[in-house]
Symmetry: C2
Subunit: 137 residues, 2 copies
DNA sequence: CTTGACCTTACCCGCATGGCAAGGTTGATC
DNA sequence: GATCAACCTTGCCATGCGGGTAAGGTCAAG
């Protein structure tokens, strides 16, 4: 199977697959005499694993660790759990931050009459930070 | 005032200030005979406006629009409100997505016994997508 | 005059990917 | 055998938002 078909079947792009190979996430694919990459069922399996991991928001570096654990028969599930938990913590952190930003903005929006008068509390806040101080990281 | 002091007072870095100037977000700063950038109170005011907008999570492109609205005396506060609302929508969208990822992962983690046995539901899911399908975007 | 802190431009690095260009391969059709 | 479209190859540039670093110019204090 050529890279295009492998891409379609895995949900990745051909470009991504080549990139993953170039950074060592994937081992080099077999080649035809003319240099075309060839993928088999095992490779497809790995590509699908990567795709699902990325969909869950793991970085390529984390995907690399997951792949290693996946391919290590002696792996302890505790390791995988720890990695997943760490990722959950990062997600929660990000969600909290975004939520605070949204709340601050929401507050500003509610104080803005939003008509044709030029006087705008949102701009006033951005100007001086007064009236409804934003959450600063 | 030189760029370093302007940076310290605004909370931005000198690098950022030069970058903002280079992409046209800021008008070119005045220069001394020897080429040093010089900033006055008005400039500091603008820098602080940018800093606060960034802190609220606006992209540099959005900050550009806000700056334009800010400097336009005939602006309608409705425009600003619309921009802020759009940003809130984007934040909410992102928050929802991250929350779904977290929930999926959390679910997987709860089904993982997390000991030394190599059998791991998280990896199983990444492998086949079965058992607890992840939220796909 | 020297020293050290500051400033200048200009380049490479990261993430993860898209896009484009120039050229080689393949398989089908004429 | 030629042609054509669809595929493949490598390679370079771009994104957003800066961080890091180098090589050099400038300024004020000692």
């Amino acid at each position: 199977m050529n890279i295009g078909q492998a891409a379609r079947q895995s949900g990745l792009s051909a470009k991504m697959i080549r990139y993953y190979e170039s950074i060592g996430l994937l081992k080099a694919a077999h080649r035809t005499d003319s240099g075309y990459r060839v993928y088999g069922d095992d490779d497809l399996h790995t590509l699908a694993f990567i795709k699902r991991s990325r969909d869950l928001g793991f970085s390529l570096e984390e995907v690399g660790k997951l792949l290693t654990l996946w391919q290590d028969r002696q792996r302890a599930s505790a390791d995988v759990k720890a990695l997943a938990r760490q990722h959950i913590d990062e997600l929660n952190q990000k969600i909290r931050e975004l939520g605070q930003l949204r709340d601050t903005l929401q507050d500003l929006v509610e104080h803005c009459h939003g008509d044709h008068r030029p006087d705008c509390p949102i701009l006033k806040n951005l100007e001086s930070g007064c009236c409804a101080p934003p959450a600063r990281p």
